[in-house]
Amino acid sequence: MRELTLKDVDRDEALTEAVAELCGSSRAEFLRTAALGSAAMLGALATPAPASAAVSDVDILNFGLLFERLQATFYTQADELGTVASMSAAKQRWAETLGAHERAHVRIIKQVLGPRAGPRPAFDFGDANETDAAFTKTAVAMEDLTVALLTGVTPQVHDRGLTAALMGLLTVEARHAAWARNIIHETPAPQAFDEPRTLHSVRGTIARTRFVVARPKTGSHRTPGYTG
């Protein structure tokens, strides 16, 4: 059975570029063909945290909200547009369940943050949720990344109650990751230890995917030239 690699899910080589920026180009080239989620890959990705990177609980929750919104939008769009309907019954159940979970996560984190919640960004998934194959590969990569992120940031949360809540999310996301891998006949638990990733490194990876984009300019102050 062939292992899933970064190359398989890398849209426009964006993830490879992000890894190159974080880890150097030679390591990125190695990672390109390393099995996704493998100990070798996650170990190489574990970049040191930037010096004196003091992040507040609100910062961490807001980044969590961004990431959950990204995932929720990814699954919701695929469902609304018909990608999910084109899949097998087992994959439909998987995709619908993950979408329903991510939407619940978005709602609760927004509620917890209240007015401190960041604005909803715009997303552009390109081809990534257009076809069954692209959707599945991207979902696997996102779920693996979520587990690495939550493993990395949860111990940094100051509030013990929040830590407990994030642990609840982490275990569910780990189940998502395992389910996703099982769906495509990959090893559900490829390594004995999930290497944590820093918020900084995950933020860099997301930036390089170009999934989070600026809202298109749809307003102007120009005098209308309509027919009147």
Partner: protein
């Protein structure tokens, strides 16, 4: 024989009962007691997400996408198919051009294409563009229906009426085009009282105003002549009283489908 077996059974029950009583009465071993004292109570989570949220109704949902770069829309999802129209990345007003998504497909090579409504003449033209020519999808659950016969515009959200307002439409010979269109942009704070405080650009075009500076697109806007609303007085645009267009601007996002009938 039976009496002997019964006596043995009664004896066994008595022995096990005695052992159970003795065990219940004695304290647990020291190692177990130490573990019980060392275990802290579980930390209560600050939040719990509640039940999963299934996908809501999509019956009134419309998806649109911005145009990334100039692209030829084709009659089929195939780079070799006949060109239906050229889509620019920007509108004459300098905003990002948008298209409403009608369908999706793949070409022979498995590359995704999107079937879209085109803001070109003849009105109602559709075409296929490569997915990569478009930006991220956005969705709206609003719809504006303009009834030319009744001179009335109705805004719906998720199928429910949000606003109903009188309108002025095209005069005879400059009829407002009928069909399915969408809102492409929203203009504000311009210096032209005849358009009122807010103007929406639509994908509808006047077949007669093709030499108009901006291509003869039909707008939905306010007015400096409210006494002419409702009526048939425009060159194809849909005019509203200023209070109505301001209320509409609060409720109607760009990308909203517009039915003119």
């Amino acid at each position: 024989m039976i009496r002997r077996r019964a006596a043995v059974l009664v004896g066994l029950v008595a022995i096990f009962t005695a052992i159970g009583v003795l065990r219940a009465g004695s304290p647990p071993p020291a190692a177990v007691r130490a573990t019980q004292h060392a275990l802290p109570p579980p930390v209560a989570p600050a939040f719990t997400p509640g039940p999963p949220r299934p996908l809501g109704s999509t019956a009134h949902l419309t998806h649109w996408a911005p145009v990334r770069h100039t692209v030829v829309a084709r009659t089929d999802p195939d780079a070799a198919a006949t060109g239906a129209a050229t889509l620019d990345a920007t509108t004459p007003e300098g905003t990002r051009n948008l298209v409403v998504v009608l369908d999706r497909g793949v070409d022979a090579g498995g590359h995704p294409w999107v079937h879209v409504q085109l803001p070109v003449l003849p009105n109602g033209t559709t075409g296929w563009v490569p997915r990569r020519a478009l930006g991220g999808y956005a969705d709206v659950d609003t719809r504006l229906v303009v009834d030319v016969a009744r001179l009335q515009a109705t805004l719906y959200r998720d199928g429910r009426v949000l606003q109903r307002s009188p309108v002025a439409v095209g005069m005879p010979g400059w009829d407002t085009p009928l069909g399915e269109f969408y809102v492409r942009n929203r203009l504000t704070r311009y210096r032209s009282p005849m358009y009122g405080p807010v103007a929406f650009g639509t994908s509808a075009r006047s077949p007669r105003a093709t030499d108009w500076p901006a291509g003869g697109f039909v707008g939905i806007h306010g007015t400096d002549r409210p006494e002419l609303v409702p009526g048939r007085v425009s060159h194809g645009c849909i005019r509203m009283r200023n209070a109505d267009i301001v209320a509409l601007a609060r409720r109607m996002p760009v990308g909203t489908p517009v039915t003119i009938r």
